[in-house]
């Protein structure tokens, strides 16, 4: 088997899996009938359609273009880790440590995702953004955000 587009090959398989997963999941709910469609009717149909579309993407990846073309390419692991990690960190720490502590740490953590990271800029940015966000969201818009650690 010769793969012509790596990106389509992988994404086609993913779509087929997701579509089938939804379709199979939908069988847990009553399908109903055309006259009285149940909760499983719409998701089952959609799941099948998605799987078919995934199939089209998949088979086309075997046909068009030069061999082994359209590679997936290098994954930016560092950016992926820092960005996703800092969001999860923020979600986890905000209710526990409060805004004043978790927010600046999150910004420094996020900044590490960039290729031009320097501690000076990141810390400066963290201070500015924390003060700004405090003024806008907490002092100005009085949003309900925990400020200080929960154990204090």
């Amino acid at each position: 088997m010769k793969i012509k587009s790596q990106r389509d090959f992988v994404s086609g398989i993913m779509l087929i899996v997701i579509g089938l997963a939804f379709a199979i999941g939908a069988t847990n709910y009553s399908f109903g009938s055309n006259i009285r469609p149940g909760p499983g009717y719409f998701p089952f149909g959609l799941g099948i359609i998605l799987a078919i579309l995934g199939g089209v993407v998949f088979f086309r990846s075997l046909r068009s273009g030069p061999e082994n073309g359209d590679p997936i390419g290098r994954m930016p692991w560092r950016a992926l880790f820092c960005v996703v990690g800092s969001i999860v960190f923020f979600g986890f720490c905000l209710p526990r440590l409060g805004f004043i502590i978790s927010f600046p740490i999150m910004i420094v953590f996020t900044s590490m995702a960039g290729q031009e990271f320097t501690w000076r800029d990141a810390l400066l940015n963290a201070v500015i953004l924390t003060v700004m966000s405090y003024l806008i969201f907490i002092a100005g818009l009085s949003l309900n955000i925990p400020l200080w650690p929960a154990f204090l």
């Binding site: 990106r7 389509d8 992988v10 994404s11 779509l15 579509g19 939804f22 999941g25 939908a26 709910y29 009553s30 009938s33 055309n34 006259i35 009285r36 469609p37 149940g38 909760p39 719409f42 998701p43 959609l46 799941g47 359609i49 998605l50 579309l53 089209v56 993407v57 086309r60 997936i72 290098r74 994954m75 930016p76 950016a79 992926l80 960005v83 996703v84 969001i87 999860v88 923020f90 979600g91 905000l94 209710p95 999150m106 996020t110 900044s111 995702a113 960039g114 290729q115 031009e116 800029d121 990141a122 940015n125 963290a126 953004l129 966000s133 969201f137 009085s142 949003l143 309900n144 955000i145």
Partner: protein, 502 residues
């Protein structure tokens, strides 16, 4: 005359001090986020949503609308000055606008864009005011099959406009519809696909998806690319006022763009964007010097800018008359209405006339403010463009994280957004476009409900969608769109149109 009476009510509402202030705030914020990359109107409105409870519904909607069209103005500014379209609908503006800027005519391009948009906004406002009542009465004729067909048309519109492969765009729409199925079934109260997680039983908030995919996912993708330089070509914008010849060249184009925009903007899905693409193509066809397009033709700025602004106005029509969100921003506006206890739909006009007409008139007021904000004060926005990305992306991340958290003061939403960040990055990587996904997700539950209701009504007969005239026309339109796009000559053109975007 009714129209004048209605406009009178509207201006009375829009011109109160408080509402002028909110319109102004909305426009400033909108321009700001339109100029800054990565922070779109969706994220901004989502962040402000929790603060809306304390406002008058009319003021809140006026401000949200201001953010929406303010972002469009700001998006055109970046399109012209640095060849980075801030919003999808200003993609075409970048083609000729940036070339004009390179030739030292940045001021003229900006002024053409602002004045064209203002003219279009004025006409668009009048069109909305004149036709919304008529369409509202039509809306009462709409049954479940018509709603379903209209939403189907909207989804096809979004697919047709997505860049890249059609099959991939269709897959994204279907995936969006499926994600919308994670909820509790309205008719039988069965929780679906929720794995006993209480937060999932209410469905995922679409803001979580939008922020995850568009803000976070895009940041990862951007950082993955080799360091890109945002070159600000123009340090100081001079020569704002267009010459007589410019006026003569640009005016007819702006008028045609406005007409097209008013017409196409009503289409659910991607009205303003469709309008700007089409009007650019039309100008190129009509021009005696088509070879100038892409090299700084003033018509290539005037027409699409007028079209997308007119389209932005008339895209309020389906939202105001039918209660159907035609884009993520409209979905947020509907969300804001619901928060404040107003049921969106054809009854808004009669039950809340001051809100309805106040909002429409404030659009004109807002457009006027935007001309002032964008022309004399252009220097401030240019300064903003020079902020390096390493300072910008943590700021975008930070604001979005706060926005997601404050949606319902729930960390589950934050984790969900993190998951969608990974997903958004993968869609980028695999060459899928995320916009159709969001629209599918928003329309999913409504489509299902109307499909089921339509089938129930027709006793399981699918032909109900083609035997009822309004629904048949809409499905036919969707079919025509698909066929036209699939034609070889057009699909080649379509690729050309998207080439600059990728």
């Amino acid at each position: 005359m009714d129209l004048f009476h209605n406009l009178y009510i509207g201006f009375q509402t829009a011109l109160t001090f408080a509402n002028l202030w909110y319109a102004f705030m909305g426009c400033v914020l909108g321009t700001l986020i339109g100029v800054l990359p990565g922070l779109g109107p969706i994220a901004t409105i989502a962040m402000l949503l929790p603060t809306m409870y304390s406002l008058q519904p009319t003021s809140a909607l006026i401000m949200l609308a201001g953010i929406y069209y303010g972002a469009q103005y700001g998006g055109s500014t970046t399109a012209i000055l640095i060849n980075v379209p801030g919003e999808a609908s200003s993609v075409v503006t970048a083609l000729d606008g940036y070339q004009m800027a390179r030739k030292g005519r940045a001021g003229t391009a900006l002024a053409t864009s602002a004045l064209g948009s203002f003219f279009a906004g004025t006409v668009g406002t009048l069109v909305v005011a004149a036709f919304a009542p008529a369409l509202t009465s039509l809306a009462f004729e709409f049954g479940a099959p018509e709603y379903f067909a209209l939403m189907f048309l909207g989804l096809i519109g979004a697919v047709v406009l997505a860049s890249g492969s059609l099959v991939k765009a269709l897959a994204m729409v279907v995936l969006g519809l499926l994600l919308g199925q994670i909820n509790t079934d309205v008719q039988t109260a069965v929780p679906r696909f929720s794995f006993n997680i209480p937060e999932l039983m209410d469905g995922i908030n679409f803001v979580v998806i939008a922020m995850g995919v568009f803000s976070f996912g895009e940041i990862i993708a951007n950082l993955g690319k080799s360091a890109e330089h945002r070159e600000v070509f123009v340090k100081k914008v001079t020569g704002l006022w267009p010459t007589k010849k410019d006026f003569k060249d640009a005016s007819p184009a702006a008028v045609r763009g406005t007409l097209l925009g008013c017409l196409l903007g009503v289409l659910p899905g991607a009205g303003p964007m469709l309008a700007s693409f089409t009007s650019y193509a039309v100008e190129k066809k009509l021009s005696k010097h088509p070879e100038e397009f892409g090299k700084g033709a003033i018509q290539g700025v005037a027409a699409p800018e007028a079209a997308n602004n007119a389209g932005a106005q008339t895209s309020f029509i389906p939202m105001l008359t039918l209660g159907i969100p035609t884009s993520a921003v409209m979905a947020l506006m509907i969300g804001a209405m619901t928060i404040m206890g107003i049921q969106p739909g054809p009854t808004v006009m009669t039950s809340n006339p001051t809100l309805f007409w106040g909002l429409i008139c404030s659009m004109w007021v807002g457009n006027f403010m935007l001309v002032i904000l964008n022309l004399p004060l252009i220097g401030i926005w240019v300064k903003l463009l020079t902020v390096p990305y390493r300072f910008l992306f943590p700021a975008i991340m930070a604001f979005c994280a706060i926005g997601v958290y404050t949606l319902s003061n729930n960390t589950f939403d934050v984790y969900c957004a993190a998951a969608f960040a990974v997903f958004g990055f993968l869609t980028h990587k695999f060459g899928f476009e995320a916009a159709p996904l969001i629209l599918g997700f928003i329309l999913g539950p409504m489509m299902e409900e109307n499909l089921r209701r339509a089938l129930l009504m027709a006793r399981g007969d699918w032909s109900v969608f083609v035997t009822r005239p309004i629904s048949a026309v809409m499905l036919l339109l969707a079919l025509v769109m698909m066929i036209v796009i699939a034609l070889p000559s057009i699909s080649k053109k379509r690729q050309e149109a998207f080439v600059d975007e990728e």
